[in-house]
């Protein structure tokens, strides 16, 4: 658990605080709402994966006490069974709901992101959550719904709704999400570079 936590906080430190002083890099980095939510999730996930009968329940009790203020106060909900890779960053807070899917490494999640499973029809019991690859940037308010596979190196623009599979190395935007660029420059990922008209037409 500690290696994964070091990878998470280390990535956040490099991306957002590499110019700042000691206090910001080591103390404030771990204290903002997104980082606290990630720490609590890693703790709960570790206890869940441990699977030792008595100790797992004990850890689950402690985890529940920690999780309630995060869910109520910060508005970030990450279930224990979610499989999230190293280097996970939650940037702001509020409105974040991640369901029990798989997320790859180096994912960045902004505020208002929903990664949710849709129940396919009313009589089928099991909801199928999305699978997200490595190096994915989910912009503010992005919603990824259903049985969707997002490949590696994808930038999902702000306020988009992803309902279909996404290939690798693209930028998607819009409702429903369409490919707007074959670059995925995640460092500047906010809105999109100039839309390529041919791609929009071809993909619509």
């Amino acid at each position: 658990m500690f290696e994964i936590l070091k990878a998470d906080l280390g990535r956040k430190r490099e991306l957002y605080h590499h110019h700042a002083g000691f206090f910001t890099r080591w103390v404030k980095n771990a204290m903002d709402p997104g980082a606290l939510a990630v720490i609590v999730y890693r703790f709960g996930n570790w206890g869940h994966r441990l699977a030792i009968p008595g100790i797992s329940q004990l850890i689950a009790c402690v985890y529940l006490c920690l999780k309630m203020p995060i869910v109520l106060g910060f508005g970030i909900y990450i279930p224990v069974r979610a499989k999230i890779g190293k280097g996970f960053i939650i940037h702001n807070m509020n409105g974040i709901f991640i369901s029990t899917g798989e997320i790859g490494e180096n994912c960045t999640v902004q505020q208002g992101v929903t990664i949710g499973a849709i129940r396919p029809n009313r009589w089928d019991g099991k909801p199928r959550p999305p699978k997200i690859g490595n190096n994915v940037y989910l912009g503010a308010g992005a919603k990824v719904l259903g049985d969707v596979t997002i490949a590696d190196n994808v930038v999902v623009g702000a306020n988009s709704v992803v309902l279909t599979d996404t290939p690798a190395n693209v930028t998607v935007m819009g409702i429903p999400a369409r490919i707007v660029s074959r670059h995925a420059v995640s460092d500047r990922a906010y809105g999109m570079p100039e839309t390529k008209k041919e791609e929009q037409v071809a993909n619509s």
Partner: protein
Amino acid sequence: MFEMIKSDFERKFKAFGLRAEDQGALRYVKLSMELGTQAAVVYRFCRWARGVKIPVIGLIIRIIARMLHLMVMVVAGINIQPYSTIGRGFAIHNFSCIFLLAEKIGDNCTLNQGVTIGNVRGSKHPPILGDNVYVGAGAKILGDVVIGSNVVIAANSLVISNVPDNCTVAGVPARVISRGADSPYLQYTV
């Protein structure tokens, strides 16, 4: 600071959430119970606290301001960075998931829930908004955009390019859908 808080309250008196029969001190009480108003008052306090020059008391005031800011963030989900300069008559309609970091916002701005106004990597400055802007629920204004006056930004839109005066924008990415912004939201000004 107190004039700004008064202007915020006056704007909300005119339009939002009060019935005609509420008069006098009851209006102040009812409005103070709204989380949006509380967040605006805390922002005014934090902004004032940034400029206090007295050495020791200034530090204490800034610590109190920081704690109030964190409390509002946790309880209401409204995070207004004190770097922003916001004009008079600032109204926050609902609460939750509001993040605001802007270079300058003019008078009579209205925010709904889920609004993000922020900068991104590589933008020169955070967004600049003019007077009388109504930002609908879930709208995201990102980058170094300059938005004019008398603008209605529809719900769930994504504004990443400049917006001229007197129009309505909607969509992801935001496109101008109307050149008349005579929407009822813009009537209530201070």
